[in-house]
Amino acid sequence: MKNLNRYGYFFIAPFWIIFLVFNIYPVALTFYYSFTNYSGSGVAEVVGLANYQRLLTDTFFVEAFFNTWKIWGINFALQIGIALILAAIFSDMRVKMKGLAFFRSIFYLPNLITVSSVALLFGILLDWQHGSLNIVLMNLGLISQPINWLNEPATAQLSVSLILTWMWFGHSFIVVMAGVSGISKDYYEAALIDGATRMQTFFHITLPLLKPILLYIMITSLIGGLQLFDLPMLLTDGIGSPDGSLNTMVLYLYNQAFKYNNYGYAAAVAYGLFIITIIFSAIVFKSMYRNERKQARQV
C-alpha cells in the first residue's frame, strides 16, 4: 500500500497558513513594534527598551493594573462564593432541592447577553437622577438619596464588579455543579453514616475534591478578568472615568493605540499584560498544587 501519510500535510495546511498569517505574524509584529516609537503612520524607529522602561514607571498603567485586580477580585470572591453555596444547596442529600434545571438556566442567562448591551443597559439603569435602579431603591425605602453609582471611583468599581458577578456566577455554578456530580456518592453516604454535619461534609469532602474544578474556574476567570474591556469602555466615557477608576489594562492598551496613536507603546502594554497573565496563572496553578501536596503529606 502506498504511503498516505503525506496527506496529513494537506489536511493541516489551511489551518497553518491562516494561523501563520493572522495569528503568529501579528503577535511577532506587535513584539517588534514594542521596541519602536511607531505612531500608526510613517517610519517606525527602533528605540530599544524605552517603551518597557516607560511601562514600569507609568502611573496610569500601574493604576490600570490595580483597578483590574480590584474589580476582578471582588467579582471573583462573590461569584465563587455564590456558586459554592448554590452547589451545596442543590447537592445536599438531606434537603433534596428540586428545580435545578430551571434555576441553572435563569442564573446563567445574563452570561449569554452581549457585554456591550449589558454595559449600555446598566449605564442607563444606574444613572444618578433618572436611572430606574435608584428610583426603585428609593421607592422601596432602601436609600434616601440617589446614589451616584458611576460618578464615584469606589461605587463605579463596585458596580462593575457586581455586574460581572451577575454575569458570571451562573456559569461558575454550572461548572461547580458539574464537578460536584462527578464526586462519588459513596463519600457522602459514608459521611452520613458517620454522622458528619453539613459543614463537615462540605469542607472535608466537597471542597477538597472540587479543587481541580475550582482551579479551572479561577484560571479561566483570571485570564478573562485581566482582559476586561467592554464593560468599562462602554459604561462611562471610554477612558476610564470616574477619576481613572475604570481604566483597565486592555482599555489603556486600546486607547494608547487607537486614540492617541502610540502604537509602539501600546504594543509594549500588550506584552506587559501578557507577561502579567502568565505570571499570575503560574502562581495560581503552583499554589493550588502545593496545597495539594501539603495535604497529602498530612495524611
Partner: protein, 303 residues
Amino acid sequence: MIDRTELEKGVPQNHESEKVLLPHEMKIKKRRSMVKGIIYALLILMAIVCFIPFLMMLVNATRSNDAILTGFTLIPGSSLLENYRTMMEYVNIWNGFKNSLIISVLVTVLTGYFSALTAYGFAFYEFKGKNGLFVFMLVMMMVPGQLGLIGFYELSKTLGILDTFIPLIVPAIASPFVVFFLRQYIKTTLHPSLIEAARIDGASELRIFHTVAIPIMMPAVATMSIFTFIGSWNNYIMPLVILFSPEKYTLPVLMGFLKGSQVAQNLGSMYLGIAISVVPIMIAFLFLSKYIINSISAGAVKE
C-alpha cells in the same frame, strides 16, 4: 427500627408515605420542609434579581422618555412604536443585526469545517514534525487575543482589508482550541480500522474525511459551534478596531455607536435598541439552554 434511624440520618426515603411517623419524626420532617421553603424563597428572590434588569429594559422600551424620567413602573407604556421610529431615524439596528449574523454564521461554519479537517490530519496521519506542531499550537492557545491586536490591525491595513468583514471572518479557519477539542474527541470515537476499510473500498482521503470522519465528529462540532457563534456574536474589540463605516458595524459596535448618538437623548429608544439586541439571544437560549449547559459542564470536567 432500622427505618427510623435511617430517617434521622437523612438517608433518602422511598416509602415515606406508607409509614406511620412517630411524633419526633414529624417534627424533623416539618422543620426540614420549612428550611426548604425558606431556601426556595431565597432562590426565587435571586432569580428575580437576575432577571430584573431585563424586565426593566423590556418595560422601559415601551415607555416614553418623560415617563422613564419621572419614575419606574412594571406596567408597559404605549410608546413602543414612537421609540422605534426615533431609534431608526438615527441608527438602523437591523443592519447591525444582519452584519453580526453574516459574520457569526461564516465564522462558525469555517471554524467547524477547518478545525475538523485539521484535527483529523493530526489524529490519523504520521508525518514529520507532527508532535512539534501540535505542541506549538497548544502553547499559542494560551496567548490572549489582545496580544497581537496592534500587529493584526497593521497587517489588515497593509493587506487593504480594513473596514471589511474579511479580517473578522477568515482568521476563524485557525482556531487552536477547537482543533484541540476535536482531536481529543475523534481519537476516542473513530477507530483507524474504519478508515482502513474505506481505503480498501477505494475512497480518496478527502472523501473518507467527508463521509466517515465528519459524521462521527458532528456532535463535538455542534458543541463547539455554539460557543464559536456566541463568541463571535459578542466580540466587541476586533470589529471596533477593524470597522469604520457605521453601515458595516456589528451589533456590539452599534451599541457603542448608539450610546454616542442622538438616540441617547431618548431613553425609551435606548432601552428598545438594547432590547432588540438582547431578546433574540434570550429566545435562542430558551430552546438551547439544556444543550448549552450540558456543553459547559462537559467542557469543564474534561479539562
